[in-house]
Amino acid sequence: MRVIAVDPVTRIEGHLKVELTVEDGRIVRARSSGALFRGIEIILVGRHPLDAQRITTRICGVCPIAHSTAAFFALDEALGISHEIPQNGRVLRNLIYAANWIHNHILHFYHLSLPDYASFRGLPLSEFLSAGMEEGRFSSEESEKLVQHYLAGLEMRRKAHELVALLGGKMPHDMAIVPGGVSFRPDLATLLAFRARLAEIRSFLENVYVPDVLSLCLRYADYFEIGRVGRLLSFGAFPEEGLGLEARLFPGGLLRNGEPEKLDPQEIREGVESSWYKGAEAHPWENPTHPDPQRAGGYSWVKAPRYRGEAYEVGPAARVSLCFLFGSPEFRVLARELLGEAGVGLEALSSVMGRHLSRAIEAVFLAKRMDAWLSQVDLAQPVAKSFHLPREAEGQGLTDAPRGALGHWLRIRDGKIAHYQVISPTTWNASPRDEKGNPGPIEEALEGTKVGDNALLVAGRIVRSFDPCMACAVQ
């Protein structure tokens, strides 16, 4: 038996340590540990409520629009204007967010994940990018092509951020998303510039990214069996007409081993049994953040969110599974086609390769939907609803982020923020053990996996398939 500290886990956002106990070539125990605490929830308390819109985006520089989105949902609700957001506001917010989403998936596949699968030896940047792999399963010609796509992907994700900036002001850390809608009134030339860049990105997604993901799925098909969890939760993302979590492009919901269940956010509890905080398990409405760096039994800055006492995987596998069951028929056609090409069914999505495939499916679907949203922008109509700030109010902001379910809980008292809690996707996925000793999803995905002498490589593939974002997991 030996203990391997994978510390730092690189090619993710932020600071993560994973400790593996390996016995007879198999991981028997895994501990996932968030290694950075900033205390942004504490910093928000006492501030003007609207400051949350700009400060929470700065939780994360990779997926800032996710926090921008959760914050506006929470603020719109607190301001009592959720029903009155003009169509332009809804659609422009969706476009800004979707562009950030696509940047995220390109970055995750080519720049964070690919070095785990393709050998960069003998190629430019090989020394910096080599993950120490002996032999990848791609031929050297195939690897060379993938490295070219790595470089092309750098340009494409930059252009995706130009899309965000065209409507959102700048990236990272958008500015135009505000309570009530957006602050920016685009002109026709801006919309044309958006559409032209979007066409270029869509072409890359459909002709380069999806084929690359599919070839990875075929070459590493055994990874559909590795890193499974099975319990999936999503808040849904991208509001269409109507307000509920179900009325979203990606509908929210819950899947327990393939069986859909109704999601009730009141059933969420966040525990701190293995985390460096004071307090006990509670709903985020009741759970202020009190760091306790010496807490006995603590091994992570990540808290442990649970739904009815169970850990749930959040992210692309949850969204694609739910959207297949409850989303649009067009989505089902696309998903069926790509699942068919990969030779797997829905039940394989909660796995290392399934997560990559899920991202590819949703990215092409989302990019196509963006074209339709763009056509819904009406330059003659308002982009935002004005509002008055209440002295006492509460708002809950639930959305999926590229990495999964994200919630913001805001309480306003005496015109100021009295309480702000954030549960991010990676808080779910990278959570440590809870009061009952049950592991978090990444820990669960690692435990039981055969790694032989390749613990760093195999564990890296499993952990990265969740696309961890530690600045989000611990704010």
């Binding site: 730092p8 932020g14 900033r38 520089g61 970055l107 960069f120 750098l154 951020h161 959102g168 957006v182």
Partner: protein, 281 residues
């Protein structure tokens, strides 16, 4: 003959937004910076960057720990994020704390660049009540009695051009000295104009035409714009390939390049009524 200068990018208490901003550079692009000469005969060699590097775990940590030994005096250290100085485990990379890594890295660096407002001045993590006693790199080094020069490139995040200009100085010389830097350690060539000076809505301000709600025409001063107190070239460079920037997008400037960010005397969306942080150059 091409020579390379090693680049060590160390992430402390931040959000990776400054790294993403560098990836958003257009001309030269990140691809150019990784593969090509930045100025004739000189290239950068990225040695360490947690978000992009291939090695993971102990092999990654070894890259970081060997740099001061193998490339002494021959690398640029770029720090992203603030330095937590409260509990030792507020920020760690491997067993050492972020603070310990920095102390080991700064000594042998040819130059230290604080990328972003967190690294330059503390930024978001150091905002009141500063739960982790986070601080900027220069303040941290001063506290540790290491009075090494730091070039500050503030912004949340900084525009990629502001870092590129700093890197060109370091590659081709002259290394920025007191005459190139303002009293806050920022390149004068980048941080010597107020947003207000170049603002396209300046005419609205001058005639008193103010927007009262988001999405309205007019100067954004009443909505809390910090442009009159913020030193940066956003109106001239614009962002993300020059396609847009905050004020063009109808949003007040939030003063993200300034040492007081985000603890201004007024909230982000409240009109600034006192010149408490107005400085003269």
């Amino acid at each position: 003959m091409r020579t390379s200068l090693s680049l060590v990018w160390f992430q402390a208490a931040g959000c990776t937004g400054c790294s993403i901003s560098l990836l958003n550079a257009d001309y030269p692009s990140i691809k150019n910076l990784l593969l090509d000469e930045v100025v004739p005969g000189k290239a950068l060699a990225l040695r360490f960057h947690l978000t992009l590097m291939g090695p993971t775990g102990q092999p990654a940590l070894e890259v970081l720990q060997k740099i001061p030994l193998e490339a002494a005096g021959d690398y640029i250290l770029i720090v992203e994020g603030a330095v937590p100085t409260g509990a030792q485990n507020f920020g760690k990379v491997g067993e050492p704390s972020m603070a310990q890594h920095l102390l080991a890295l700064v000594e042998k660096a040819q130059a230290v660049v604080a990328m972003g407002t967190c690294a330059a001045f503390g930024g978001i993590p150091a905002a009141s009540p500063n739960p982790t006693r986070a601080m900027g790199v220069q303040e941290f080094l001063h506290k540790e009695n290491r009075n090494l020069p730091v070039v500050n490139v503030p912004g949340c995040p900084p525009h990629p051009r502001w870092l590129l200009e700093t890197l060109v100085h370091l590659l081709a010389g002259p290394v920025p000295g007191p005459k190139d830097l303002d009293e806050l350690g920022r390149l004068k060539s980048v941080y010597s104009k107020l947003i207000h000076e170049g603002c396209p809505r300046r005419a609205d301000f001058d005639v008193g035409r103010f927007a009262q709600a988001f999405g309205e025409e007019g100067c954004l001063y009443e909505l809390g714009c910090k442009g009159p107190y913020t030193w940066a070239l956003c109106p001239y460079h614009a962002w993300n390939g020059g396609v847009n920037w905050c004020i063009k997008a109808g949003h007040p400037c939030i003063g993200c390049t300034e040492p007081e960010f985000p603890d201004f005397p007024a909230p982000i969306f409240r009109k600034v009524t006192e010149p408490a942080y107005r400085r003269t150059k």
